[in-house]
Amino acid sequence: MKLRQVLEDYTFILPAVGIFTIFYIIPFFFIFRLSLFEWDGIGRLSSATFVGLANFREIIFRDSNWWRSVGNAGWITFIALTFQNSLAFLLALACSKRIALRGVYRIIFFIPPILSEIVVGMVWRFIINDVDGANIVNRVLVCLGLHQFVRAWLSDPNTALNVVALVHSWKGFGWAFLIFLAGLQTIPREFYEAAWVDGANSWQVFKNITFPLLVPVIILVAILTILGTMQSFVLIISLVGGELAGYTSVPVLRILWVMRNSSRFGYACALGINLGIILVVASFIQYKFFKKVRNLI
């Protein structure tokens, strides 16, 4: 009877498990296999040449374009982790208090993340670009008498990546804001009341109650930020138009280039695995770091 019950239950989840296995699990392991081969993505798989770990050796020791793209993505992620998440945290703190129009603010702050990245890139390109856009940023700078800061923001290699990072932060902070707000609202009010009764000031309340209890949420937001930002590429295509001689190159764009332009699918798979390893290691380090911070507090 129990066996029958178990069999019945598994029968109903079988289709979903099957689809998940075919379209996710098998391709996941297939990528590892393909990374050991040179394959042009056109001929039959049987025509692929086994090269062992040569693709990985090439990535580690010879592909400077790849590591440059990882560095660029790392910079965008750093801005996201610091500027974007700090802003989100402060706004979440403000909106968790009883301020006027906090409901309206919550809606406004959540609009950017629900917009498509292509749309965000095109709108900001129109705002910033002086070639095919309205050039609003430069016009404002000129009006304010700050002529020395006028730039071709999206085609200047010194500024293009930072512009991408800022626009990415603008788009992404809404998600972090929502998660922080939810985290703040789970902190029992009694803790704050007890602290106020004991005469604690705002900073002491934040340092001893809010921040320690929010560390799990901060870890979650940080890990999601790393995972999301390191894989971002659509914004660069719609905002800058391409890799700008490598100055706005990111890992996913490099993987796409390898697949499309050099027809090396095995190598592209190896790049993807490399990116995955980087993300796992970065997330693990971050997790350990915040755990230590929490223990210290």
Binding site: T11, I42, D130, L154, S155, D156, P157, G242, A245, W257
Partner: protein
């Protein structure tokens, strides 16, 4: 009882999902990426059906990157349509042929005393042909049919040139004249030269035009074969041209972040004096600004020692799926599509250069000017050697860096040569 009902329900769903294979009526399916030609293609499909009783289905997949990926995925899955085109380099074309996906059209081209083959301009066929000593490892033959030709050259806005004090019927012929325009262009707050140099292939194409002019075609091919290094003074001279263009004001930083569509829009909106673009731009500019008054010219030459050659000849081509059950019908359709009446119709409707010699359709003057440049054209896909993709990328990105002021021509040449040597060593291992 409950479990029996559950099994019956699941089995029913399973068999409902497994419907019998669709029996396809005789219909030729063609995949393409040419958004501006879809209405013309559909009209031709209807005509063909009226004449021969065979349905033809032109399916458009755009943009071109998405189309390329679709073809590649279909090749892997064995789902290629009856007729399709290949947008990428000849290397990928060769891979599809070696994998057995593309029908050898040579026997059909040789029928009736080479009647079909002789219809085409030699440059148009050259891109689709593999010679006996080709380095791609493909059996010699003709594997695709060109439906148009293209030339990539410079266009100039006659009104703006007049505004700058030049006779629009005599655009700059020498590179020095061209650079001297830079100061005046800056004063008028115009863009000098625009092009989709954010797309690496276009910047590489422009560089090659001047490579031919400075060192001759043989030395360029020798470089690709690995016999001449990229650190050769001739190549550094080619790379230096971009530095000179930047310093003169003819080009700015912005050109290296432009996609070709943006460049086309800027030129059509009369904000740029020159554009580097292909003959497909005639139809594009007509759609964006029908009153645009512009002319066609060769990029201004820097040397009289060797001719300046532009990329040309290669247009869009269609090939037949070797595994298609309707491949004979597909070949017949392609013969019909490349006949005079259909080519004339395509020229009228889409403003592209015809692939066949006898097409005497009245071309707009701009297209006539483009067609004259075909005498001074060549194309990488018509050569039997090809440069390694990573070397092309290093050169093109290096040129972008020169325009951005981040690298010197010497540094780019050294980097390109380093990558070339590394890739050649890898190939020989």
């Amino acid at each position: 009882m409950k479990s029996i009902r559950a099994w019956i329900l699941l089995s029913g769903l399973f068999f409902l999902g497994c419907s019998p294979p669709e029996v396809r009526e005789k219909r030729i399916v063609i995949w393409h990426w040419m958004t501006d030609r879809q209405p013309a293609f559909q009209e031709l499909a209807e005509r063909y059906q009226a004449q021969r009783g065979i349905q033809v289905d032109f399916q458009l997949y755009a943009p071109s990157e998405a189309y390329s990926q679709k073809v590649r995925a279909a090749a892997q899955g064995g789902n290629l349509p009856d007729i399709f085109g290949v947008l990428s380099e000849k290397r990928d074309f060769a891979s599809l042929i070696k994998a057995g996906y593309i029908l050898d059209l040579t026997p059909y081209m040789e029928e009736e005393n080479f009647a079909w083959r002789n219809r085409f301009f030699p440059q148009a066929l050259a891109v689709n042909k593999f010679s006996p000593d080709n380095t791609y490892g493909v059996n010699p033959g003709i594997y695709a049919v060109p439906i148009d030709m293209v030339a990539i050259a410079m266009v100039y806005n006659k009104n703006l040139l007049r505004k700058l004090g030049f006779n629009p019927s005599q655009p700059p012929q020498s590179f020095e004249e061209f650079l001297n325009l830079g100061r005046k262009i800056r004063e008028e707050k115009l863009q000098g030269l625009v092009s989709g140099w954010g797309e690496l292939w276009l910047i590489y194409c422009f560089a090659q035009n001047y490579a031919f002019n400075i060192m001759g075609k043989e030395k360029v091919l020798a470089t690709i074969r690995g016999e001449v290094p990229y650190t050769d003074s001739a190549w550094i001279e080619v790379l230096r041209l971009f530095e000179e263009m930047k310093n003169s004001g003819i080009i700015t930083n912005k050109v290296v972040s432009m996609v070709n569509k943006t460049a086309e829009q800027i030129f059509a909106n009369e904000k740029a004096v020159f554009a580097f673009n292909g003959s497909w731009c005639v139809n594009v500019y007509k759609g964006m600004n029908p009153d645009l008054d512009y002319g066609v010219m060769l990029p201004p030459r820097i040397s009289n020692r060797f001719p300046l050659l532009v990329w040309g000849g290669a247009g869009s081509s269609f090939m037949v799926n070797a595994h298609s059950p309707y491949r004979e019908e597909a070949v017949k359709f392609l013969k019909w599509l490349t006949a005079l009446e259909q080519q004339s119709y395509l020229v009228r409707k889409t403003n592209n250069l015809p692939a066949i010699k006898e097409c005497r359709e009245d071309l707009p003057q701009v297209l006539v000017d483009f067609s004259r440049l075909l005498e001074k054209s060549t194309h990488p896909n018509s050569w039997d050697v090809w440069e390694l993709p990573l070397v092309n990328e290093t050169l093109a990105r290096g040129i972008q860096a020169i325009v951005l002021g981040k690298k010197t021509p010497q540094a780019v040449a050294q980097e390109a040569q380093r990558v070339k040597e590394r890739e050649l060593a890898k190939k020989s291992n």
